[in-house]
């Protein structure tokens, strides 16, 4: 039995079913990300004065990722337009670009995550804080047994608030160097992972969920790029509609990033 309205528009809605379906799905996605954005607002406004981080994320990498996603949105639109003019070769070229741009985006995001996961804040017994990227842990380092040392590339500050605004003149003027701390001097130690504070928690949650959407979209686009040839030969209209629907999802993912970038990187 043939599935109805995969190509023709339904008389009552004026749309083919998949298109209405993807818009309804995107509406639910708006609410999903909306809930997390409202959590972000709540956490940010509720933070104690001077305790919300600024300048913790690499603006250059965020900008590159913004442009990569914008370019991928364009190649997605061009891939659909190539299907419309029945040029399968150009479709393959444009969607290959989309896949490469998406994978580059994920590569950069992974690098940013890694950078946060090797960044440590150590609270010392004397009340000061050692903060920086991990250089090395001595072989006998064991925080529980209080043995060994850990070396960071960073600095020591007296107040945790000094670590919050990395755009402040003081933070910019701070000299970074290698700091070696003995385990016996450490009160607590943790990296800038999701549990570090509410900023890193919402940062990893929002960008992680977004990255999962990028990954899912890339898999779908790759499937149609690699295995879409047979449907293209038998039913090019239906294939074109599939490309339009996947493109709408991809543009939505770009839209989410358009707000994630300024909210997390620039403010």
């Amino acid at each position: 039995m043939e599935i109805p309205y995969t190509v023709q528009n339904r008389p009552d809605t004026g749309l083919y079913n998949a298109k209405l379906g993807i818009w309804l799905f995107l509406a639910s996605e708006v609410m999903l990300f909306g809930g997390l954005f409202s959590a972000y607002v709540l956490l940010r406004v509720g933070a104690e004065p001077g305790m919300w981080p600024h300048g913790w994320l690499n603006v250059t990498l965020g900008t590159i990722n913004t442009l990569l996603l914008a370019l991928s949105a364009i190649t997605t639109l061009l891939a659909w337009a190539a299907c419309k003019v029945r040029d399968f070769t150009k479709f393959k070229i444009f969607h290959a670009c989309t896949i490469l741009l998406a994978l580059t985006f994920l590569g950069i995001k992974s690098y940013e995550y890694h950078d946060k996961l090797i960044h440590y804040e150590i609270k010392l017994n004397n009340g000061t804080f050692a903060d920086g990227h991990l250089v090395e842990k001595s072989k006998d380092f064991d925080l529980a047994k209080k043995t060994g040392t850990v070396t960071l590339h960073g600095r020591i500050v007296t107040d945790e608030k000094d670590l919050m605004d990395l755009r402040s003149p003081e933070a910019k003027a701070a000299k970074l160097g290698e700091v070696t701390v003995a385990a016996t001097d450490i009160k607590s130690m943790g990296n800038y992972g999701p549990r570090h504070n509410t900023f890193t928690a919402i940062y990893f949650t929002l960008t992680g969920l977004h990255a999962l959407h990028i990954l899912g979209g890339t898999i779908v686009i790759f499937y149609m790029w690699a295995f879409g040839g047979s449907m293209w030969k038998t039913d090019p209209e239906r294939f074109t509609n599939r490309i339009e629907v996947s493109g709408l999802f991809w543009h939505f993912v770009d839209l989410v990033w358009i707000f994630l970038f300024p909210v997390l990187y620039l403010t």
């Binding site: 609410m31 607002v41 639109l77 543009h251 939505f252 839209l255």
Partner: protein, 107 residues
Amino acid sequence: MSESEKPVSLQSYFRLCGVVFFVVLCTTSAMIATSFAHIGDGWTLKVALILAIAVVNAFLVAGFLMHLLSEKKLIFTVLIFTVFFFAGLMGLTMWAMSDFPTGTAIH
């Protein structure tokens, strides 16, 4: 007729995409410049300006790349509901911002 039903010319889409990408470049640069500029005492004005620029950017993507400007009425109806509930979600969050349960340390 929605955009997806119109006859398509690849050249016209190249032009459209060129314009959209140029504007995205400009708006992204404007957001970054605003972020690092000395505007006001705190972050409130900066955040408002940056988000306003982001809305322009989002309008471009939704309006032109997603063809929303020429879409069917039904899709707009769905989106109006979404905007309503999204505004409610954010509005209720803001409204409850200063509410603390009676008996808590902050209250």
